[in-house]
């Protein structure tokens, strides 16, 4: 049985090696573009245009082409129809693009649109449009995650009360969760710098899903440790913990595999629009399982052995045997 716990320092290093470039990318990104990620129109707003054509010719494809040339290859296009069935001969479209409108862009838009179909300049309108996921949402999500940390720690302290130092289990679960959030944010930031990936409302969903999954996965592992402590009295804590990891690894792999099947299917055969979301979610689930096995639990051992800076050293082994 490979001793994961013994090699814990290497896994901590591996995590650091994944997270650090991400943090650097977020810093670089904040310096160059003002935010840790490339923000889509969902987060920062942009412009909304109403286009009216008096004859046929415009299509989703050629509208996309026009706006891609102006700098946004990810616009939202909607076809508009009057609610009262007047002016049914006009073709109306609404376009949301992430750039700000200047007089220059308006002229460019009008000129390129005239080339694809008879375009009515008098009915052209452009206005700024606010973010759909505003600062309120980001703030609510951040506060919610912080509050959830406190509550989950409390829950773990209660649920693991028969285990010595239950509080540490809570803290380690939260550390692993932050690890996962940092991994996703870092990777997203790197992909933003390298390939121009933008984050939209779904990014938030991916982060929140990962938070839930990460905690869930960690607790399954902790549960096994909780069960094994009285079962293997006298064994060193390290051995019990390592045994618990190996006893649950089948489950971890099988669960991971099943989620992977569906995500892989959507990535391979699905439509373009949500591939980014699926990819980030996939990273989230992967790191969620990784951090439970290679961070949360080894961290617990390091803490019990008094290897962590700033926190007191206790001889957990004796306490464990005494209380059990």
């Amino acid at each position: 049985m490979f001793n994961i716990i013994q090699k814990r320092r290497y896994f901590f290093l591996l995590s650091a090696a994944i997270i650090l470039p991400g943090i650097i990318a977020m810093i670089i990104s904040t310096i160059t573009i003002g935010s840790p990620f490339r923000l889509s129109i969902d987060f920062q707003g942009g412009s909304i245009y109403e286009l009216t054509f008096t004859g046929p010719g415009a299509s989703e494809e050629n509208l996309r082409e026009v706006f891609a040339r102006l700098g946004d290859d990810n616009i939202t296009i909607q076809r508009l129809t009057n609610t009262d069935e007047t002016e049914a001969n006009l073709e109306r479209w609404s376009v949301r693009a992430s750039f700000d409108t200047t007089t220059g862009t308006i002229q460019q838009i009008e000129e390129s649109l005239e080339q694809i179909a008879p375009f009515d300049r008098t009915r052209f309108s452009s206005e700024s449009v606010s973010a759909t996921v505003g600062a309120e949402v980001a703030r609510a999500a951040i506060f919610a995650v912080l509050a959830a940390c406190v509550i989950v720690t409390g829950f773990i302290v209660v649920a693991f009360r028969q285990v010595p130092n239950a509080f540490r289990y809570g803290v380690c679960a939260i550390v692993a969760m932050f690890h996962d959030v940092l991994v996703i944010m870092g990777i997203t930031s790197i992909l933003g710098l390298l390939f121009g990936w933008e984050i939209d409302a779904l990014f938030l969903t991916a982060i929140l899903t990962t938070v839930g999954f990460s905690i869930q996965d960690t607790i399954v592992l902790f549960d096994r440790i909780r069960e094994n402590i009285p079962k293997y009295l006298g064994e060193p804590y390290e051995t019990i913990v390592n045994r618990s990891i190996w006893e649950t690894i089948h489950r971890s792999l099988a669960t991971q595999l099943n989620a992977f099947f569906i995500m892989a299917a959507i990535l391979l055969f699905g439509g373009e629009t949500i591939k980014q979301f699926i990819f980030i979610l996939f990273i989230g689930l992967l790191t969620g399982t990784f951090s439970s096995i290679f961070n949360a639990v080894p961290l617990l051992v390091s803490w019990q052995k008094g290897e962590l800076p700033f926190v007191g050293k206790t001889n957990a082994l004796q306490t464990a045997t005494a209380e059990a």
Binding site: L80, N82, T83, L204, D223, A259
Partner: protein, 463 residues
């Protein structure tokens, strides 16, 4: 054992109902118990689909104040409140955005009934408490439900309904005491003894002073509650009010709740009018949607196959439990209702993949127990018992997180956080039920029927 067969009957019935309810052709359940032409059971079962999938209604609202009388924060704040009205639980997937510096753009998915939708938004706009103190009882009664002109509306340069009434004694518009901006909360409540419904409201600092001055000077006279220029009700003032009060009337429960909601939403900083409306088409190409759903279904089939190949007979129990999970989820989406966007559908498909986690925990446990030499049924009992603890604790922690997310998502403008929490928590609760109870039912029944082969051929248990 008979316990499990009773469960089986329940599960089968539940599945059959869920399947019926989740079929796209099922639009509702209406039962007229006593044949009086009124439906005692009236359950709407229509799946709402998001703007990206089916489009919807676009309503452009315009601020009814001169631009120099409000800030951009006021407008954003108003937009947040509108958003809360159209998307209370965060499950409607409506879009509310500030457009330019005097408009709010609202898009509601799947709406074809323009009038109702516009009414919902418009009627959440302008609330006033209006001075009716010098009117006689008959005059008050004749104005109930009718449009009137008020000083506040005059100030806004509102276009009046030509039929709008003026004060019959002076021929001038009625005096506005306070507007919705003076309200901090409103709640529907019922009298425990009489069962009559009323609305309890609280005033904020801005509203307290003028409201107290008016009510203390006009006890036993009338005051009108006016929404968008129409008199909702005109109660008699019973006492001087400074912190809040109760609006009584002949409300049904639904009317009271609706009015409370309207009063709460009346607290918009800027009154709004509808500038124009249009239907918007779906944002995603149908092809992209179909591709993704088909891909997800392929994924689900792979998951089913994996469970069958890897866990054999227990795997079959898991597949059946997953089928129940899928059907119950789809039913709940229609019942709540949860608006499905492509992202929501994808999230649901992935949740099918993670939903087997409970089954896997149980089966791995059972396998361990059998490897340790336990007989089949003892191993099943031990497996379920032990796995239950870890399933319970791990799921409960995530449900706790959902509760926190829901709570924080209730701040104006952040309803998508709540919506996410509701769907995730519902999925987890359904999963808790199917992975543990439904799987157990099927597995014990299989074990009972196949006692002999299962004990002799361990490979049937995936060992």
């Amino acid at each position: 054992m008979s316990k499990h067969y009773r469960w089986l009957v329940f599960v089968v019935l539940l599945f059959a109902f869920g399947l019926w309810a989740s079929l796209p052709s099922t639009e509702g359940l209406r039962i007229d118990l006593n044949n009086d032409g009124e439906n005692e059971v009236d359950l709407a079962l229509r799946q709402s689909l998001g703007l990206d999938l089916v489009g919807g209604l676009r309503v452009l609202l315009q601020a009814e104040l001169p631009p120099d009388q409000y800030s951009s924060e006021d407008l954003q704040n108003t937009a947040n409140n509108v958003s809360r009205r159209v998307n209370a639980l965060g499950l409607t997937e409506a879009t509310v955005q500030v457009q330019g510096n005097r408009r709010i753009l609202v898009e509601i998915p799947g709406i074809t009934d323009t009038e109702t939708a516009i009414n919902t938004i418009q009627r959440t706009a302008l609330l006033e408490f209006v001075d009716f103190s010098d009117l006689s009882f008959e005059q008050v009664q004749s104005l109930e439900g009718r449009p009137i002109r008020t000083t506040y509306q005059l100030q806004l340069n509102n276009q009046f309904d030509p039929a709008a009434g003026v004060n019959p004694l002076t021929g001038l518009p009625f005096e506005t005491v306070i507007t919705g901006a003076g309200l901090s909360a409103a709640q529907a409540q019922s009298d425990p003894t009489t069962g009559a419904w009323s609305i309890n409201f609280a005033l904020n600092e801005e509203g307290q002073d003028p409201f107290f001055r008016f009510t203390s000077a006009n006890i036993n006279r009338s005051m009108a509650i006016v929404l968008d220029g129409v008199v909702l009700s005109a109660p008699t003032i019973q006492a001087a009010l400074d912190t809040g009060g109760v609006i009584t009337g002949r409300f049904t429960e639904e009317e009271a709740r609706q009015l409370a909601l309207q009063l709460r939403s009346g607290a918009l900083r800027i009154p709004l009018s509808v500038e124009n409306t249009a239907f918007v088409g779906a944002t995603l190409g149908q092809q992209s949607v179909q591709l993704s759903i088909r891909a997800g279904i392929i994924g689900v089939i792979i998951v089913f196959t994996f469970m069958l190949v890897y866990y054999r007979v227990p795997g079959l129990a898991a597949v059946l439990a997953l089928a129940v999970f899928i059907v119950l989820n789809l039913m709940v989406f229609k019942l709540i209702p949860v608006t499905l966007t492509l992202a929501a559908i994808t999230g649901f498909l992935i949740s099918i993949g993670t939903a087997v986690d409970g089954n896997i925990l149980i089966f791995e446990r059972v396998k361990e127990e059998i490897r340790n030499g336990k007989p089949l049924f003892d191993a099943l009992d031990a497996g379920f018992d032990r796995a239950w603890v870890s399933i319970r604790d791990s799921n409960f922690s995530t449900i706790l997180i959902c509760a926190v997310l829901f709570f924080f998502g209730q701040t104006p403008g952040a309803s998508i956080v709540s919506g996410f929490a509701v769907t995730l928590a519902l999925g987890l609760i359904i999963n808790l039920f199917t992975a543990v109870f439904v799987t157990r039912t099927f597995l014990y029944i299989f074990a009972d029927r196949l006692r002999q082969p299962l004990s002799e051929r361990k490979w049937l248990l995936g060992i």
